[in-house]
């Protein structure tokens, strides 16, 4: 099928979900009620803003993830040829990991990996 399968699959997913939602919409009958639109929080009216400032830890993890994930991108091409290249590949990846690991240790030492 090749790359057109992506299009087919997207269309299929869209079709499936929209048909399902459409059927549900036709079948159900909806009633309006001001209380219904309230956020579902234990029955008490919501207190404060919803989009509050989140723990900065999330951002830290996001940043560290970003670095490691990008590094993973480089590993994919390396992994394919590692066996053919031989020892040089291992040495290079050890250097690569060494640098990466130093950064990782630094982040660890700074407490960036500790959930606060």
């Amino acid at each position: 099928m090749g790359s057109s399968s992506m299009i087919v699959l997207i269309i299929a997913a869209l079709a499936f979900s929209s048909i399902a939602i459409l059927i549900a919409k036709i079948v159900t009958k909806s009633t309006t009620n001001p209380q219904k639109g309230e956020p579902y929080e234990c029955g008490i009216p919501t207190h404060g803003k919803t989009w509050k400032q989140l723990n900065v830890g999330y951002y830290l993890f996001a940043l560290i993830f970003l670095i490691f994930d990008v590094e993973l991108v480089f590993l994919y091409p390396w992994a394919v040829v590692a066996k053919h290249v031989g020892w040089m590949a291992l040495i290079e990846i050890i250097i690569f990991f060494f640098i990466l690991f130093m950064g990782f240790l630094y982040a660890h030492k700074k407490g960036a990996l500790k959930w606060k």
């Binding site: 900065v56 951002y59 996001a62 940043l63 970003l66 670095i67 994930d69 990008v70 590094e71 991108v73 480089f74 091409p77």
Partner: protein, 104 residues
């Protein structure tokens, strides 16, 4: 079936580039500005891939370049976001109009 040629891709990438430039120059929100920069970088990626595929299929420079651009873009975004978070802490805003401690 319709197959996209070089010019179609170049059209998209150039459009992306200028949308990015436009966004960079006109937007006020720092995150949006950062996203505009990413748009520029992605347009470059498209360019490289397209040139590599259509014009110079035997030279893989374009592909390599793209991988590195992705990586660098991520690093840049990481640092930029860290700085923006810090800016938010001190200014309580990520609007460029509020970052005006320094003037001529």
């Amino acid at each position: 079936m319709f197959t996209p040629g070089l010019y179609h891709i170049l059209f998209i990438s150039t459009a992306l580039f200028f949308i990015g430039v436009f966004g960079f120059l006109t937007r006020k929100n720092l995150i949006t500005i950062l996203m505009s920069v990413e748009l520029i970088l992605n347009s470059v990626n498209l360019n490289f891939i397209a040139f590599n595929k259509y014009l110079w299929p035997d030279k893989l420079d374009g592909l390599f370049f793209t991988i590195f651009i992705i990586a660098i873009a991520a690093a840049e975004a990481a640092v930029a976001i860290a700085i923006i978070i810090n800016l938010y802490r001190s200014h309580h805003s990520i609007d460029v109009d509020n970052a005006e401690e320094m003037k001529y």
